[in-house]
């Protein structure tokens, strides 16, 4: 506590919380100044800034802000490592990898499917039902989305078909885990297997070896007329997919719903204390049914984004574990929509970076793919603040 005595009364001089946040920001600055456009070619300034960040972090620690304090110190150390690596790398390489507008656009593209599924996961888990089946629900949405868009010649109908298919698969999960009181993790695992089998089977049976046709109706991009050609913003968000905007708008929407409306309060009550919710007359089982089906619909829309908007085709197991990254985002974001947004943007950024890193090194790019899982593992381990699940998640409810 020596630092605490130095700053006398930290709570009055500078709130430890603010100090911690300042430390985090400084740590990021320490790294970013070695990147385009600043491109400082010596690690010295970064180290100076990082030391200040560590000092701020320590001060925050002394003020009992453990999470922010350790976070700032860890980030500052990472920033020094990053800065040293940057200054050793060629300027040309750095400019290729860190084209910020392109990186942000790619981050949004990667984050969109994760965000849809993560928001779905939040709804389901807030109501008390674990949804390991997000992966399967995304996959089934990906296949039936493109199937619908192909057969019905319309991406709108394709997305609706995807939503319906995800809702149906989620209904299976709901019936088994709510009504039949199956273990929710087992039931979710089954849903993943089923989705893999169903999509693979119908994909082969319907499209055969040629795959989905090349010209399928796709979700259009939104071209923002005012900023489309304005430097950074034009490149980053001037030409973004419609579903990305919908996903981003869903975040405040779901936040308001969960924390500011009666229905959201009821949903959370059912997930935290179902017995109490039941006592005051809330329909616990019905609420959980609705929540699980809604989560399947959202996850499926995320899957449909992959096939109908992003790639324009389907291949077997095309979600490749994105449902599990979404699950990670739910936990990393502490079961809050804003948190999930932050997590999916972070994970999306790491994917975007991994995409562009091969100009540097293929192997480093691969390791970036593991980052979301590693961060989430650290998060559940409680090192950077404990994630607390809804109290009754995973426990089937039996009416008295």
């Amino acid at each position: 506590m020596s630092v605490g005595t130095l700053t006398a009364t930290p709570s009055r001089l500078a709130a430890p919380r603010q100090l911690g946040i300042a430390g985090l920001v400084l740590a990021i600055v320490a790294w970013v100044i070695t990147l385009p456009p600043a491109l400082v070619r010596s690690p010295a300034p970064s180290i100076v800034v990082a030391v200040v960040a560590i000092a701020a972090g320590s001060a925050a620690l002394a003020g009992r802000q453990r999470r922010l304090g350790y976070g700032a110190i860890a980030l500052a150390l990472l920033a020094v490592a990053g800065a040293v690596a940057d200054t050793r790398a060629g300027v040309g390489h750095l400019k290729v990898v860190f084209t910020w507008s392109v990186l942000v656009a790619a981050m949004l593209r990667y984050a969109t499917p994760l965000l849809f599924a993560a928001l779905g996961g939040i709804i389901s888990e807030r109501s008390g039902v674990i949804n390991i089946g997000l992966e399967g629900m995304m996959l089934i949405g990906a296949f039936f989305g493109i199937w619908g868009a192909d057969v019905l010649h319309s991406w709108v109908l394709g997305c609706l078909v995807a939503i319906a298919s995800g809702g149906l698969l989620a209904l299976v999960h709901a019936i088994f885990s709510i009504h039949l009181r199956a273990d929710q993790v087992v039931s979710g695992t089954a849903v993943n297997f089923l989705a893999l089998g169903i999509t693979g089977y119908f994909f082969i049976a319907h499209y055969g070896p040629n795959g989905t046709p090349s010209r399928v109706s796709q979700v259009p991009n939104v071209k923002l007329p005012l900023i489309q050609h304005v430097g950074f913003f034009g490149g980053a968000i001037g030409n973004t997919n419609l579903l990305t905007w919908i996903a981003l708008l869903l975040v405040p929407g779901l936040s308001l719903f969960l924390f500011r409306t009666r229905w959201g309060l009821r949903l959370r009550a059912v997930g935290e204390k179902p017995r109490a919710a039941d006592t005051v007359g809330l329909p616990v089982l019905r609420t959980r049914y609705v929540a699980v089906v809604a989560s399947g619909m959202l996850a499926a829309l995320g899957g449909a984004y992959l096939s109908v908007a992003f790639v324009g085709s389907f291949n077997q197991d095309m979600t490749e574990g994105r449902g599990f990254i979404a699950l990670a985002a739910v936990i990393f974001g502490k079961w809050r929509p804003a948190g999930a947004l932050a997590a999916t943007l972070l994970f999306g950024f790491s994917s975007a970076l991994a995409d562009r890193l091969p100009t540097f090194s293929q192997t480093a790019a691969t390791l970036f793919q593991a980052l979301p899982y590693l961060l989430t593992l650290i998060a559940v381990a409680g090192i950077i603040g404990r994630s607390r699940a809804p109290a009754s998640v995973g426990i089937p409810y039996v009416k008295e």
């Binding site: 297997f193 089977y201 082969i204």
Partner: protein, 416 residues
């Protein structure tokens, strides 16, 4: 997730009979499930899954009977029929060897999941433990040239088991120390292991085969580390001795669980962690030990595949493998028992072989379709096993019929 949070902890031991909002632990439910249905329910579950799968085949315009017959013939299980002779018998023998090769790792990953279930833990991380075990097995197996066969194999198997144990031990330690949910941590560890493997063997990766620099694959296992083949031709991928190692694993599983202090503690913690800790058994310590043992099984499973028939590890194989996830299906269908695991692993191993494009007659049914049919059947089995209600209901209505028939029979008896 298996703990009861709302103040009715005393009822946990009552298992299925708990009528309040509190729900028994996974283990309590599973034991209740084993008690009631016996061996009939899992068999019935599998049959229902096959019937539904057959309906899918029928709806998509194929003949389910000829499809299933072709799949069955592809498994080589017709070798067991004495009337199959001549060339057909030779083919069947080869097919059966492949089925048993596929069964071997499934037994072990099944044990990896089942052992955790018995302690009230859900090891969804069999895939990651299997991957880590495979990485270590292929690394040891392809290094140490000139080592004699027995110590080389032993080193590779032990190394793979230790790696799996360490990997799963992370989840166990996190659960024991900070209470991190093992479902989440093992899922994350799965993907970290998979990407780690892709990194190691990918182009430019540290363990990528230097002899073929353009292929993302590990080095090939040396002849001294290959498991001996005891049935069939070693050149044509005959059956390796890994099957016996897997069966030894089953025996070990049974002894550990039923004849050791560790097993007693594990089962006690699985039944009720609170009661166990009151009796002086530390749940935390057991969480770690159980996960490590689970990981050991999964790691050895991978060693059997690597040293038995794969001999190297492609990165896309790491990404596409489902063996560890299948362990969940094997454990559940086998009801977390030693013998049940063997039977369930044989079923899934046979399905895998029977529907692969090497063994299924493509003129009857497209193997690409069939392998997806397998996934669907696996999903259905897991789904149906997740709740005993459906199979029990079918069973009960069946019994009802039987009872009614029996009564009629009895009534008729006096007349006769």
């Amino acid at each position: 997730m298996n703990t009861v949070e709302d103040g009715t902890q005393g009822d946990v031991l009552a298992g299925e009979e708990v009528a309040h909002g509190a729900t028994p632990s996974t283990h309590a439910r599973l034991t209740a499930y084993v008690r009631r249905g016996g061996v009939i329910v899992p068999i019935l579950t599998a049959i229902i899954a096959f019937v539904v799968g057959g309906l899918v085949v029928l709806v998509t315009g194929h003949n389910p009977f000829s499809t299933y017959r072709a799949i069955f013939n592809g498994t080589g299980l017709n070798w067991l029929f004495p009337w199959v002779g001549g060339a057909a018998r030779k083919t069947a023998a080869f097919d059966l060897q492949q089925t048993l090769i596929a069964t071997t790792p499934l037994i072990l990953v099944g044990l990896a999941v089942a052992f955790a279930f018995r302690a009230g833990l859900f090891n969804i991380g069999g895939q990651g433990q299997y991957t880590v075990g495979g990485i270590v097995a292929v690394w040891i197996g392809s290094s140490f040239a000139g080592m004699p066969a027995v110590p080389h194999i032993a080193l590779a198997v032990v190394g793979a088991g230790a790696a799996g144990a360490a990997w799963a031990g992370i989840a166990g330690a996190l659960k024991a120390t900070v209470g991190a949910n093992e479902v989440i941590s093992t899922i994350m560890l799965n993907w970290i292991a998979i990407w780690g493997g892709v990194y190691l063997f990918g182009l430019g990766g540290p363990l990528q085969d230097p002899h073929q620099p353009s292929v993302p694959v590990s080095s090939t296992v040396k002849a001294s580390a290959k498991l001996p083949v005891f049935w069939g031709n070693a050149q044509l991928q005959g059956l390796h001795i890994g099957l016996f190692i897997a069966l030894a694993g089953v025996v070990l599983f049974w002894i550990l669980l039923n004849r050791t202090r560790l097993g007693y503690e594990v089962r006690a913690v699985g039944l009720n962690p609170d009661a166990a800790s009151y009796a002086g058994i530390s749940p935390a310590r057991n969480y770690f030990r159980v996960m490590a043992i689970c990981g050991m099984f999964a790691g050895v499973a991978a060693a059997m595949d690597i040293l038995g028939w794969k001999f190297n590890l492609f990165t896309n194989d790491i990404q596409a493998s489902q063996v560890g996830f299948l362990g969940i299906a094997v454990a559940l269908l086998g009801r977390n028992t030693a013998v049940g695991t063997i039977a369930a692993a044989l079923l899934f191993g046979a399905l895998q072989t029977g529907t692969s494009d090497r063994f299924l007659d493509p003129s009857v049914f497209d193997p690409n379709l069939a392998s997806n049919l397998t996934l669907m059947i696996q999903g259905l089995i897991v789904l149906l096993v997740s709740t005993d209600v459906i199979a029990l209901r079918v069973l009960r209505s069946g019994r009802g019929v039987a009872v009614a028939l029996g009564r009629r029979g009895k009534r008729q008896e006096p007349r006769a």
